[in-house]
Amino acid sequence: MGYSLSTEALSEVFKHLSLEYDLYAPRLYPKGGAFSDTDLVRYGKISSPEEIVLHEKSRFSWKETLLPISQTLFYFTEGSVLEPEQEQKGAVIFLRSCDLHALKRLNHIYLQNGPEDPYYRDRRDKLRFVLIGCKEPFSSCFCVDMGTNKTDGYDFSLDWEGDFWQIDCPNTEWQELFRRHAVCEQAVSPSYVTETKTRVHIPDHLTADVIKSTIWKEYDSRCIGCGRCNFVCPTCTCFTMQDLFYTDNGKAGERRRVWASCMADGFSDVAGGGSCRKTCGERMRYKVLHKALDFKMKSGFQMCVGCGRCDDACPEYISFSHCLNRLPEAIKEVNSDEAE
């Protein structure tokens, strides 16, 4: 069901939702950017519609609301282990279509690959999603080519049109709330982009043979292995266990999981000093093929959602989308080497 609401009316709706949920949306952190006098747009708690940043892409994705950067799994003392209490309050996440598609990827890892992750399951069940419509793509977006430009998995959608918020609300529990505050009821379909400036074509005949290509070596000198691409990615899910002990009582502490990056040192280290991927080129290949091939082999759908954040975040201006577009060239190279 669709509704038109003024900003004041939507604020009232937010106020009502805030009783049960924290609201997370891309918002402005003035002077919070990496360089002096620059602002940062990232996810944070909001209380009113004006706080939502619509004209810019958030630097980080929403995934930290579901998978905290550092999460305590349990506390331990000498003989006992205690699980922390989980946050009871739910959360409403405001995100774009590509980011909502990322949820399916996160679910695949945390709910379907091996046993269910209890921390993820608990949090996931408390989340609701609000789709922010996209009228125009940002320059690095390539959602259309990844098939993630449209979605229907939202609780309600949000578009600013004319002087009103246009809302489509399939969630029947919230329809009455919108009806109460709406200026009018009408069919609304959230806006979505149908073409992007950045284009990507992943070859259908891509296989693991492409590992042998020499294109990966080029990244040895360009990539510095900082892992920014992983941390801004809405579909990167890797973590490392970390034990923390209290300085006042060395016998008590906690175990956490913290985000890990397959591009950074240490990710593939095994006991005794061995490491599976030492060069940045190998790590780039490992990451790119996970996003464009390996994940799909296992799940049946592509991992990358085309949000383009990795391209925005790279300090070395390495473009992931450009790398994907080089795959046909890499396949050709490998095939011709084998034919010789």
């Binding site: 349990f74 091996g114 209890p118 973590f239 060395g250």
Partner: protein
């Protein structure tokens, strides 16, 4: 919260067996089902967790052979003797003993690589009628690095055991790499041969090549891989190779599948 796979349980240390200066086997109380080649995540508080292969399965016990890798584990070794340790698992597929029944089985292991296959060796050494023939080729760096000495002498009464050291063997031990003993392996029917290879990457690579030169097909070889595994349940991502999670799909792989895994 629902059943939480990350929370370890306390297990009593029944016995600590000191093989070498840096490698001890902890015999732990464990009542559940477990297969050779599976692993447990062992919590060493302050240090974290480490995936450790089950090196032996007893009546209500499992053996975990742990190598001291630094200052912290050094302290931990002493502190836990006679105490308890936090474990979770078992994880991974483990060896399927049926794959080797009725076969002429050769196990090639290097260093701590003996741990995951010790249970396989133990089983068949105690059930020789289940197998055509049993050979083990085990290599260690030097005589002081040899693990499971008692087992080797026990196994050698029933199976063919070739124990070799890289150097310093003196008059007591053979010297040389495990690969030196593969060309001379005798099989009555090559088509009925099976081999398991576990050890450091280079040792595995050359052993597999030697087995293939000896006439074994890829489909007759099994391997067990060591990778960084933080969670053991397919979430943390560290052990992923292509579309395979070593902790879920492995660590034991038929070589025909394992050879396609490129880190």
């Amino acid at each position: 919260m629902k059943q939480n796979e990350y929370v370890p349980f306390l297990s009593e240390i029944i016995e600590v067996i000191r093989h070498t200066e840096i490698e001890y086997t902890f015999r732990m109380k464990y009542l559940g089902d477990v297969k050779p080649g599976q692993f447990f995540e062992v919590s060493i508080p302050k240090y974290g967790e480490a995936p450790i292969s089950v090196s032996g399965i007893g009546d209500g016990t499992i053996d975990l052979t742990i190598r001291r890798v630094g200052k912290v584990t050094n302290e931990i070794f002493e502190r836990y003797e006679g105490g308890r340790m936090l474990l979770r698992g078992p994880y991974g597929n483990g060896f399927c003993l049926d794959d080797y029944k009725g076969k002429e089985l050769v196990i090639v292991a290097g260093g701590t690589g003996v741990s995951p296959v010790r249970g396989v060796m133990d089983h068949f050494a105690c059930h020789m009628p289940e197998i055509q023939s049993l050979t083990m080729i085990a290599g260690f760096k030097s005589p002081s690095d040899i693990l499971f000495r008692d087992d080797f002498s026990r196994w050698s009464q029933r199976a063919r055991v070739i124990l070799t050291v890289d150097s310093g063997g003196g008059t007591e031990y053979r010297e040389g790499l495990v690969t030196a003993y593969i060309p001379g392996l005798f099989f009555t029917d090559l088509a009925n041969a099976a081999a398991i290879v576990v050890g450091p990457p280079a040792m595995m690579r050359f052993s597999i090549q030697a087995l293939k030169n000896r006439g074994l097909e890829d489909s007759q070889i099994w391997i067990s891989l060591e990778r960084k595994m933080c969670c053991g349940i397919g979430k943390c991502g560290h052990c992923r190779i292509n579309d395979t999670y070593v902790c879920l799909d492995g660590p034991v792989f038929p070589y025909a599948k394992g050879r396609a895994l490129i880190d």
